[in-house]
Amino acid sequence: MKVVKQKKVTDCYESSNTIDLILSAPITKPFVEHLGQLGKLLLFDEFDIPYFKVIVKGEYTIKGAFGKKTIRILLPEDVEDYPLDSLVQHIENFNK
């Protein structure tokens, strides 16, 4: 999996410090489980399209849905230019 683009989300009220990561391939269950290694995985697979959250305590929350090519990262409000290198690396290690 590759991160194709990082996009600052300006209209998100859940956190004013939000980044969307655009991925090279659709999100699958194995990929979500791979992300889940980073923290606590909450999976709602009873929804029409399964939704997930990965809470990395004290760091950030990842959320997204199966089949999409975007995940949303809610970062701490008070940290500008939060370093996402290790997350990007973890994503790109999937199916390498």
Binding site: D11, C12, Y13, E14, L42, F44, E46, F47, D48, I49, P50, Y51, K63, G64, A65, K68, R72
Partner: protein, 382 residues
């Protein structure tokens, strides 16, 4: 996709609107009587003004000025009225299209602004405006229908209060035009701003301002009018004194087609359909302990907006999951109406707003209801 964001912009548009807009590009859009001063039945500007006058009960169609939307119409009204040195009364349910022009005038030291509180559903009793009026109040500027909760105010009574104090009544009908009955003549409205792309089913980029006979505004813009070109100053008279530049003819064509759709369908039938869907939403969700509803249930409502939150969830996440997992589009956050938040008790995140239209089906509403019920498990799973 289930589209429940009609309070932002209506979708789909009636087939008639789509066809009219497409047809408008099959020939040149230049028109001989672009000003509406000639009462030519073939002049799309005049026939559109006439249809608007029928819908809004306006005596002279030429007193309807075309603008790019409500924001421009409200800027024309609020910057054009002689308000300097006075007080303006607004309400807590105003949109930023009213708040920002007036707050800018206040910051420039030209006016003062008084804000009337609303209740937990966004409703305001007319008497509250009477209590807010001061000796120097020059206008009441009020939202007919809240774009957040859908609460509808009694404009006729508020207009009486304004006029008894010698103040103007300026109405923002962005949400109400085409959604609820409006009667400019009998309600004695001085200025009424509307947009074409919501419940009037037209395109984005077209709207207007009704100006009552006898009221003079300073124009927001001056320039070419297509006639009286020998004059070096903006010509007098309605509507050209306020309409400089090439008109948005495709937008006006779309608006006219939208108005035709409303008259053919019947405003009462449109309201009845939305009322039926609104009842389903309340029947299915009002007693759910995980959901807080902010829209008025039975009265003082447009039956168009269902404004709510799921307890323990930020509205943005509710909207995100509705779209990502159920392909249902709603609007979340502050809805460009920041003053209402404390009265609903929804600071700082705002609310989720699901707004249906005449084209929304019962099946879609039930799918939305089921999705919302499913989403309520998110905050419970730790």
């Amino acid at each position: 996709m289930i589209y429940l964001n009609n309070a932002a912009t209506s979708y789909p548009k009636p087939k008639k609107v789509q066809e009219a807009v497409m047809a408008s590009f099959s020939g040149p859009l230049v028109h001989a009587s672009r000003t509406g001063m000639e009462r030519d039945e073939d002049d799309i500007l005049y026939v559109c003004r006439s249809k608007l006058a029928d819908l809004l009960n306006i005596e002279d169609p030429l007193h309807i000025i075309f603008t790019s939307g409500s924001t421009e119409a409200l800027n024309l009204a609020l910057k054009g009225l002689p308000l300097e040195g006075g007080n303006v009364v607004i309400s807590a349910i105003e949109h930023n299209s009213v708040i920002r022009p007036l707050k800018t005038l206040e910051k420039e030291g030209k006016i003062s602004v008084t804000i009337v509180e609303c209740d937990k559903n966004g409703y305001i009793e007319p008497q509250q405006f009477a209590e807010a009026i001061r000796d120097d109040t020059k206008a009441i500027v009020v939202n007919h229908c809240s774009n957040v909760t859908g609460a509808v105010l009694d404009i006729a009574e508020i207009a009486k209060i304004a006029h008894s104090a010698g103040a103007y009544i300026v109405v923002d009908a962005s949400q109400s035009a085409g959604a609820v009955p409006i009667d400019c003549k009998n309600w004695d409205i001085d200025l009424l701003a509307f947009t074409g792309h919501k419940s009037l089913y037209g395109m984005q980029g077209i709207g207007g301002l009704y100006i009552k006979d006898g009221i003079e505004l300073k124009p927001l813009k001056v320039g070419g009018t297509g006639i009286l070109s020998e004059l070096l100053l903006q010509p007098e008279g309605f509507p050209i004194h306020y309409e400089a530049g090439t008109p948005n003819t495709p937008g006006i064509i779309s608006l006219y087609a939208g108005l035709q759709f409303i008259f053919e369908t019947g405003l009462e039938n449109i309201i009845e359909h939305k009322k039926k869907l609104y009842k389903i939403l309340f029947d299915e969700l009002a007693d759910n302990p995980d959901i807080e509803i902010y829209s008025p249930k039975n009265e003082h409502t447009s039956y168009s907006n269902f404004c709510f939150n799921i307890k323990g969830m930020v509205p943005e996440e509710v909207g995100y999951v509705l779209e990502a997992s159920f392909d249902i589009w709603v609007r979340t956050g502050l809805h460009c109406a920041p003053l209402i938040l404390p009265y609903l008790g929804v600071e700082p995140w705002g609310t989720v707003r699901a707004s249906h239209s005449y084209f929304t089906t019962e099946e879609e509403i039930y799918k939305f209801v089921e999705a919302v019920k499913k989403i309520t498990i998110i905050p419970k799973r730790k």
